[in-house]
Amino acid sequence: MRVVVAEDLSLLRDGLTRMFDAYGFEVVAALEDGAGLVERLVELRPDVAVLDVRLPPTFTDEGLRAAIEARRAVPGLPVLILSQYVEPLYATELLSDRSGGVGYLLKSRVGDVREFVESVRRVAGGGTAFDPEVVAQLLHPRRTGFDQLTPREREVLAVMAEGRSNAAIADRLVITEKSVSNHINSIFAKLDLPPSDEDHRRVLAVLTHLASSPPGP
């Protein structure tokens, strides 16, 4: 699998490159700034791009903007955004084009190497990988319909919104897959969303619904 890495912190960039090599990925480019990033992404068309939010020259949100633009040029180009902090607003922007293959993780998640590689693979496969912290902030109690969910349903929703499959959710919460799928059907019914089996579509459906709808009474 071909990966492009863009990270200005050389220690982390080297570490990621080595990690990807060890796990059988091919790092086609390890970039250290945002100049020309969009062009290179479009030109190289990696299977997945792992980008830091903050890159030179301006050290603002180059990485995020490059990701969004590159996905406009190449729809569905899988991108995984890494950041020192999570800002739910950025997550909603990544979701705004409504196609899968998108992720937003805290840099510290890289510490759990196996999980991180799994997230990268999931994003490359068109799925989603959202950091539990950003999910927690998006699944805010004030959102429409959120208060109609039972505590268990909220747990299932939180894990599902990270982008996990039913099997993974069942594993994490120590319940059966059948319970997971029942809970999910109930969640979708309560949020008034059409049911969906595809992992990434349902994440997008739920997160965009919750992130964009104005808080109701």
Binding site: Q84, Y85, E87, L89, L106, G111, E133, R142, R143
Partner: protein
């Protein structure tokens, strides 16, 4: 168009001001408060405020301007008017129009008047602003007193902030790093004797590192959220809205100096958090416009007041060094509107 709107508003306020003048003997404090809200300035003397009310230049200029504009419109539309009432004669300014040719002659005159009105509007607005500044701007002595007061308040506030940061770092992240070091040391010790236990400690250590990072993230967010430097005040308020689940409308298109953006942002954070905690509102909204005016509204139970020792008073004190004005409208039963305006940010 903006100048015209402002001129007409100045005229309207001038009219309103005259009414306030009548009410002055009966409700002095209310009147003075209103005057300051209208004029948008810091405290000044009673006589100057009354003089300002009694000389509504804006009203006179607005009336004159309206007359000019309407006359211009009439001139430009004269041929049409004449065609509609063609049998009689029409007066236009000081001339009688009694045939179609004369009617067409009025058109360029009217156009000229409209052009003059267009050019005059910003000048009239400036004249009115000049009057307000002359009458209500604080004297040098008043200004020095104000600056001394707010400067010491600003220094106190920043010293307090630094102590808070030091305490948070000491009790939070630093403590966690110490614990982390301990766990790693023990794991290193046990690695050969009891690898399973060592592994357990390593997992704990990583969890501890995560916790320390989370604390540092929260601390950084409380000092200066990254999104504020990246996206400016508008973007940061949008991010705040997403995080807190409130509505937001941002009409601010430019960047402000960093201290202003920071002050306004943290004011908004506190106002939103007040609304979330105390108002019981179902609908909270944050808006900022190009002026720059920040407004936080909610449809909750109201009753918020700026009292000594209240959070709102604290906000006012923190905004004072920026010549900021915080105004609360919160009748019991709601709705509540808190308006914040920083004089040095206004365009």
């Amino acid at each position: 168009m903006n100048a015209v709107v402002r001129l007409l508003r100045a005229g309207w306020e001038g009219l309103f001001g005259l009414l306030l003048l009548v009410a002055a003997p009966f409700a002095m404090p209310r009147v003075r408060k209103r005057v300051r809200r209208l004029a948008g300035t810091a405290p000044t003397s009673l006589w100057r405020e009354l003089t300002w009310l009694a000389t509504p230049l804006g009203l006179l200029l607005a009336v004159f301007w309206l007359d000019l504009a309407l006359a211009g419109l009439m001139g430009v539309g004269m041929p049409l008017l004449f065609a509609l009432e063609g049998d009689g004669e029409l007066w236009y300014q000081w001339v009688v129009v009694d045939d179609l040719a004369g009617a067409f002659f009025a058109v360029p005159v009217g156009a000229l008047m409209l052009w003059v009105a267009w050019r005059l509007a910003p000048r009239f607005v400036r004249a009115e602003a000049w009057r307000t500044r002359r009458l209500l701007a604080p004297s040098l002595a008043e200004r020095v007193e104000w600056l001394t007061e707010t400067r010491s308040a600003a220094l106190d506030a920043s010293a307090l902030e630094l102590r808070r940061i030091e305490r948070d770092l000491h009790d939070g992240a630093q403590a966690q790093l110490v614990a982390l070091s301990l766990q790693l040391g023990m794991a290193e010790d046990m690695l050969d004797r009891d690898p399973t236990a060592a592994r357990g400690l390593l997992l704990e250590a990583r969890a501890g590192a995560e916790a320390a990072m989370a604390e540092l993230r929260a601390l950084v967010h409380g000092i200066h959220p990254p999104v504020l430097s990246e996206r400016g005040l508008g973007g940061a308020l949008e991010a705040l809205a997403v995080r807190s689940g409130v509505e937001c409308e941002v009409a601010l298109r430019r960047r402000l100096p960093a201290p202003l953006e920071s002050a306004l942002y943290f004011t908004a954070v506190e106002l939103v958090s007040n609304a979330l905690r105390h108002s019981g509102a179902s609908h909270i909204a944050v808006t900022v416009d190009d002026g720059v005016v920040l407004r936080v509204t909610d449809d909750g139970r109201g009753g918020a007041r700026v009292e000594d020792g209240s959070g709102l008073r604290g906000l006012q004190r923190r905004l004072a060094p920026f010549d900021g004005v915080l105004d609360v409208s919160s009748p019991v039963g709601g709705p509540t509107v808190v308006t914040v305006e920083l004089a040095c940010a206004s365009s």
